[in-house]
């Protein structure tokens, strides 16, 4: 099977965030960027299905030039080649504008299955995969924690996470878009051989003009959302800080546990 996997590059979870001068986003200088967490699971799932079916994985990424590194990582993990959409006219969009562009690029490749992560850890719309499905006229499933390909390869049995520790299983016809949740598999690490091989793999740059979509429907211009500013959240109540070295902190905590929480016997 020919499988598309869509990936995004996001700030590392541990990154110290500073707000940019214009207040509208974070200062990217000095921030480490990584492959979005659930995308790593989508990549692994795509590779496993391709290995089982003797197919290939094509990585799709829409993002600024820095994201080329994330694309290379997916190639190092085992994707055969990649399609990269980095033109500024394509960036800064909401999930609808981004999904529209990715869907057009995917359509041009003709694939049997599209996998994405369930949500990005930066904007967190959790929507791009479903939009891709809508654009392609395919079914989709969000929050997928299990994929079983039918023998005839015409459908998949999908396990979806629900609230409160329940899972739903369903059958979905192929081609489809599946938005993969963390924990579905154990993502592999890139091998040295994989990293070397990735250097020779093709990354095809696709421009906005190649997509056959009205430019006013793409990127920031095509977005219905506009971020005015970002700020630290204000909290209703103030935390009480416990300070000092580890021993002093421990002693203070024991007092709280004993006298306030009353959980020590």
């Amino acid at each position: 099977m020919k499988i598309a996997v869509c990936v995004k590059q996001v700030p590392d979870a541990e990154a110290r965030l500073r707000i940019r001068g214009d207040g509208a986003w974070i200062e990217e200088e000095g921030v480490t960027f990584v492959l979005n967490e659930t995308d790593t699971y989508a990549v692994e799932e795509a590779l496993q299905i391709a290995e089982r079916t003797g197919g290939e994985v094509i990585a799709f990424c829409l993002g600024p030039e820095r994201a080329r590194e994330a694309v290379r990582k997916v190639l190092a993990l085992g994707a055969a080649r990649a399609v990269f959409l980095s033109e500024p006219a394509l960036l800064g969009g909401d999930a609808l504008a981004t999904g529209r562009a990715l869907a057009a690029a995917i359509r041009a490749e003709g694939v049997d299955l599209v996998l994405t992560g369930s949500a990005s850890t930066d904007l967190g719309f959790a929507a791009t995969g479903s939009v891709i499905a809508g654009e392609l006229g395919w079914p989709h499933a969000w929050l997928v924690v299990g994929v079983e390909l039918a023998e005839d390869r015409k459908s998949v049995r999908v396990t979806r996470e629900m609230e409160s520790g329940m899972n739903e299983s369903s059958r979905i016809a192929l081609p489809a878009v599946l938005q993969v949740q963390g924990g579905i598999n154990q993502p592999r690490y890139a091998s040295l051989k994989g990293i070397m091989a990735a250097k020779r793999k093709e990354i095809r740059d696709v421009a906005a003009g190649d997509l056959g979509i009205d430019p006013s429907r793409l990127g920031r211009a095509g977005s219905r959302l506009e971020t005015v500013s970002v700020a630290l959240p204000v909290s209703g109540r103030e935390v009480e800080w416990i300070e000092g070295d580890a021993a002093a902190v421990a002693a203070a905590l024991v007092t709280k546990l004993e006298q306030e929480a009353k959980v020590l016997r």
């Binding site: 979870a13 541990e14 110290r16 965030l17 974070i26 909401d94 999930a95 609808l96 999904g99 850890t121 967190g124 719309f125 959790a126 929507a127 479903s130 939009v131 499905a133 809508g134 079914p139 989709h140 969000w142 609230e163 520790g165 329940m166 899972n167 739903e168 299983s169 369903s170 059958r171 979905i172 963390g182 924990g183 154990q186 219905r224 959302l225 506009e226 971020t227 005015v228 500013s229 970002v230 700020a231 630290l232 959240p233 909290s235 935390v239 009480e240 800080w241 416990i242 300070e243 580890a246 021993a247 902190v249 421990a250 905590l253 024991v254 709280k256 929480a261 959980v263 020590l264 016997r265």
Partner: protein, 328 residues
């Protein structure tokens, strides 16, 4: 007058749930802010009860969409029921609860209607006569102020708890039955069944004390001191999602929107950043003590006591202090 505000209200077994009342409360508040009226929509199979509950609220109308094919949720069924209704009614905003169900179909509904999509709103306010929405970004570490541009309705999903359900204003609203053309519609998904996600059956909800570990633990091999602390406190061990996804602890110990919801007397959050999906599972705890090396971690926004430090230093010291207390 601007377009109406609609609340599409999620129901379960034909009854309204808290999330549904929160959506109505938000729609009423937004309608007041914009000087327009609010309408509630409920869909399903056998939802007359939910309809009459909504009829007792201050709304300009209640639309009830009944169909046997809306019994089990499917994206195809919900899209086919809602898209024509919204297209015909042309509301300015359509509000939903941000649940796993709405996240599954709202992007497609927006795409089909060529509507805007604003997921996970925490609230709105008018700034210089313009409506601005707040939503979390970067795992809740920052909040973004967002405005919507362009033509046509905007679909907004509201984070759980953003608009308290008890703010719903009572009143009386006319109920209208709306027919849905669902025969022959592709439901896009054949639902086969629902089962428990975890293999084991650890019940964390009964624990008085819970020690929750997050990704900050850094690896399964580093759990020893935390397990020791759990023993010393007679507590249950719980985990955030990445700890479970990495296989360091079993799924049955996950706390959060996909795991268990707990409310112990004490919740110790060790190396947990405090993403909303974790917070919804433990924010009802009596006392929360958070240990995190990042002072700006969102967990401190709900913590009673906060320790900025390395859990690998704090936990052994705490173990020692507890042992000394037990010995003394």
């Amino acid at each position: 007058m601007s377009g109406q505000i609609w609340a599409v209200v999620q129901q379960k077994d034909g009854r309204l749930q808290r999330a549904g009342r929160e959506t109505v409360a938000a729609a009423q508040a937004l309608a007041r802010e914009l000087g327009t009226t609010a309408v509630a929509v409920v869909l399903g199979d056998g939802v007359a009860g939910a309809g009459s509950e909504l009829a007792g609220m201050a709304l300009a109308g209640v639309r009830v969409v009944e169909h046997s094919r809306l019994g089990a949720y499917t994206p195809g069924g919900y899209l086919a029921a809602l898209a024509p209704l919204i297209r015909a009614g042309a509301p300015a905003y359509v509000l939903f609860a941000h649940t796993y169900q709405t996240v599954d179909y709202l992007p497609r509904l927006a795409q089909e209607l060529d509507a805007g999509l604003l997921p996970e709103a925490l609230g709105f306010q008018k700034v210089d006569g313009e409506l601005r929405w707040t939503r979390p970004v970067l795992g809740g570490k920052l909040h973004a102020q967002v405005r919507t541009v362009g033509e046509g309705p905007v679909l907004v999903s509201l984070q759980s708890g953003a608009f308290p359900a008890d703010a719903v204003q009572a009143g009386s609203a006319p109920v209208e039955q709306v027919a849905a053309a669902l025969d022959g519609v592709d439901l896009q998904r054949e639902v086969l069944g629902i089962e428990s996600a975890a293999e084991g059956t650890v019940d964390l909800t009964k624990a008085e004390v819970i020690v929750g570990v997050g990704r900050g633990i850094g690896g399964q091999e580093k759990l020893g001191p935390v397990e020791e602390l759990t023993r010393l406190l007679g507590a249950e061990l719980a985990a955030s999602r990445p700890v479970v996804d990495s296989g360091w602890l079993p799924r049955e110990r996950q706390v959060g929107s996909s795991g268990q919801t707990v409310a112990p007397k004490l919740y110790l959050a060790l190396g947990i950043s405090g993403a909303i999906q974790h917070l919804v599972g433990m924010k009802g705890s009596g006392m929360v003590i958070a240990v995190n090396k990042d002072a700006s971690a969102p967990i401190f926004k709900i913590a009673t006591y906060g320790v900025v430090g390395d859990l690998h230093e704090v936990v052994p010291a705490l173990n020692q202090a507890l042992q000394q207390r037990a010995a003394g």
